[in-house]
């Protein structure tokens, strides 16, 4: 396969996300511009300009109208997807680490870092109520005293948010009452990324403790584990195959002292059921920070510490390959 190389960022990527149909790919990095690309040919549709710090997270609602970005400039911004105009800016006391639209696109959540004497908060806004945006008053704000949230996604039907913490805990925060519905601790270190399956019934966590784990979204039952020998930065579940892709590599601070060959900068494919690795794709010059499957499962993208996004359309061999157990 010939990957399409997207060079829209000057610094390392932090998150990439496809919209629901998969025709657009959103990418954010530690520079200040969120980018949106046509996934089919890698053409850049535009950039969302306005942030003045590293952008940590991006999300798009189900009908690709609005885009949400959270940044280290202490703001979470809402954009018009088509024109790139800023619709709203929600200021916070500390950096915004994760953000997301719920299933309806009406309610947004974002979490802030524990930083500069401020606590980590998980905030819920209802976009249907303009007053909340105007006053910058979330209808629900949950303080997380123990350990900050490092990644979060919405659960099914917009009932709760699944949040991964710096200490490896996973919590379900109700979007109505704000209480913790369920709590587990299956990882020993920071959870770098959480991504759901297409139907939101499962999610996969990528952790610094060198493993990715699959859980049931509602019950938080541990289903599968995928072990590697390097910290996992991101993991995604294939929508049409029983596959999981994982991106990682050693820590960014050690990258300059190791060569690409031993750095293990490949994207690694695991069989979801057998928990066995069956393939690798090379390409990045640094650790992979984020991976995402196209909603049709025929391509996937990865964003790396090297500042590039690579869109890979799978070869036929990938679909023919069967793991013999």
């Amino acid at each position: 396969m010939k990957p399409i190389l997207l060079q829209g960022h000057e610094r390392s990527l932090t998150q990439i996300k496809y919209n629901r149909e998969g025709d657009l790919l959103f990418s954010v990095a530690k520079d200040q511009f969120a980018n949106v690309w046509y996934s089919v040919n890698g053409e850049r549709l535009g950039t969302y300009n306005g942030h003045s710090g590293a952008v940590w997270c991006v999300d798009v609602d189900w009908d690709t109208k609005n885009v949400l970005t959270g940044s280290a400039d202490n703001s979470c911004r809402l954009w018009d997807c088509e024109t790139g105009k800023q619709l709203a800016m929600l200021e916070t006391n500390s950096a915004v680490r994760t953000c997301g639209f719920d299933f309806s696109g009406n309610i947004i959540m974002f979490s802030t870092d524990k930083q500069m004497g401020y606590q980590c908060y998980l905030n819920y806004f209802d976009l249907r109520d303009p007053q909340q945006i105007e006053d910058n008053q979330p209808y629900l704000s949950i303080p997380c005293s123990e350990s900050k949230i490092t990644s979060a996604v919405w659960g099914p039907l917009g009932e709760f948010v699944v949040a991964g913490h710096e200490n490896g805990e996973i919590n379900q925060f109700s979007a109505k009452s704000g209480e913790i519905v369920k709590k587990i601790k299956e990882h020993t270190k920071q959870i770098n990324d959480i991504q759901t399956s297409v139907d939101l019934t499962m999610f996969i966590t990528a952790s610094k403790d060198c493993a990715a784990k699959m859980f049931d979204t509602t019950s938080l039952d541990h289903i599968k584990s995928f072990k590697t020998e390097r910290p996992v930065n991101s993991a995604a579940i294939s929508p049409n195959m029983e596959h999981v892709v994982m991106g990682g590599g050693q820590e960014a601070m050690e990258v300059t002292t190791t060569s690409t060959r031993i750095g293990k900068f490949e994207a690694r494919f695991f069989h979801a059921a057998y928990e066995e690795e069956f393939g690798r794709v090379k390409g990045h010059f640094g650790p992979i920070n984020c991976v995402a499957f196209h909603p049709d499962g025929k391509s996937y993208s990865s964003g790396g510490e090297d500042g590039y996004v690579r869109i890979h359309y799978f070869d036929p061999q990938y679909f023919d390959f069967e793991l013999e157990a």
């Binding site: 060079q7 025709d23 850049r44 066995e276 393939g279 090379k282 799978f314 070869d315 061999q317």
Partner: protein, 301 residues
């Protein structure tokens, strides 16, 4: 500008010379669509006042998409891409080199082991191997009486005026062992002596070769085998030159292996050529390392 007049017909050779003649002005970019192939020709001047003609070919593909997606395809570009022309901008979007998914199959490894073991177990019953010292069912070198019986037999042989033992000691004893088939049945080559170890007969030679092999890196793309021959011949006789070349373009990939007949020659070549400036690049010469067995089998050759 002359090029405008000749936009739709091919400019003649004379006109092209004329175009190149007038400094500063550049022919306007051209775009032609032929079937589903679009060709864009652009002209550019770089810092050194050199003119470039850039020809890019695009394949036009028609895809069916849902209404929402099709509508989004017509959105106007915004932000930093606001003034980009339609289509991917080469500044932000490029097609990178081919990569393949390397498939890992644990089953494959297991199979290979099975095959290795199978013929061995067959051999056990047939007594193909016979020890020269005690006539037992094992290799001579593995003989438990090697230290006691062996020297005695050698002395005996020396006394008799035969030097067979010495000769065999000098060469590798294992592959020199002749096939001794007691049963007299036909044995396929794969089951014959040494057949279990693939290509073993070639191995000692290879190894001797590798010992006197050096690896040259940081060669320029234009390097040819003859260049290397010229460069390394002064150090000693060369048995083999391998220059890694690109399959499609035939250009050098920037490294080569050179095997000498003698290791000393190779050592002198390393000392002599390492750090040597060759074709605007500084060569790096070192001993070739034998690669460890590859674990991953690539999806495509």
């Amino acid at each position: 500008m002359p090029s405008n007049e000749y936009d739709d017909s091919k400019p003649s050779w004379a006109d092209q010379v004329e175009e190149e003649g007038d400094e500063g002005t550049l022919p306007s970019p051209k775009e032609t669509v032929k079937g589903n192939i679009k060709t864009v020709t652009e002209y550019k001047i770089d810092e050194d006042d050199k003119k470039f003609k850039i020809i890019r070919t695009f394949k036009i593909e028609n895809r069916k998409a849902s209404k929402a997606v099709a509508r989004r395809k017509n959105w106007k570009k915004f932000g930093n891409s606001e003034f980009d022309p339609p289509g991917p901008n080469v500044a932000t979007t490029t097609v990178s080199d081919d990569v393949y998914m390397t498939f890992i199959s644990s089953k494959e490894d297991l199979n290979a082991q099975d095959q290795d073991e199978d013929p061995m177990s067959k051999l056990k019953g047939q007594k193909i191997v016979s020890c020269r010292i005690c006539k037992g069912d094992h290799w001579t070198t593995r003989c438990p009486y090697k230290d006691t019986l062996g020297p005695m037999q050698k002395e005996l042989a020396e006394q008799l005026g035969l030097s067979t033992g010495d000769k065999e000691k000098a060469t590798e004893p294992e592959p020199a062992q002749p096939v001794q088939s007691k049963t007299g049945k036909y044995i396929p080559p794969s089951l014959r002596d040494g057949g279990t170890r693939r290509g073993e007969s070639m191995q000692p030679n290879r190894r001797a070769d590798d010992n006197a092999t050096i690896r040259v890196t940081n060669l320029s793309e234009d390097t040819r085998e003859t260049d290397l021959q010229e460069l390394f011949r002064p150090f000693g006789s060369i048995s083999r030159i391998y220059l890694a070349k690109d399959k499609n373009t035939g250009q050098s990939k920037g490294f080569a292996f050179i095997s000498f007949h003698r290791r000393e020659d190779a050592a002198r070549a390393i000392a002599g050529v390492s750090g040597f400036g060759y074709d605007h690049l500084i060569l790096n010469v070192e001993w070739a390392k034998t690669l460890p067995k590859k674990r991953y089998v690539s999806g495509k050759p």
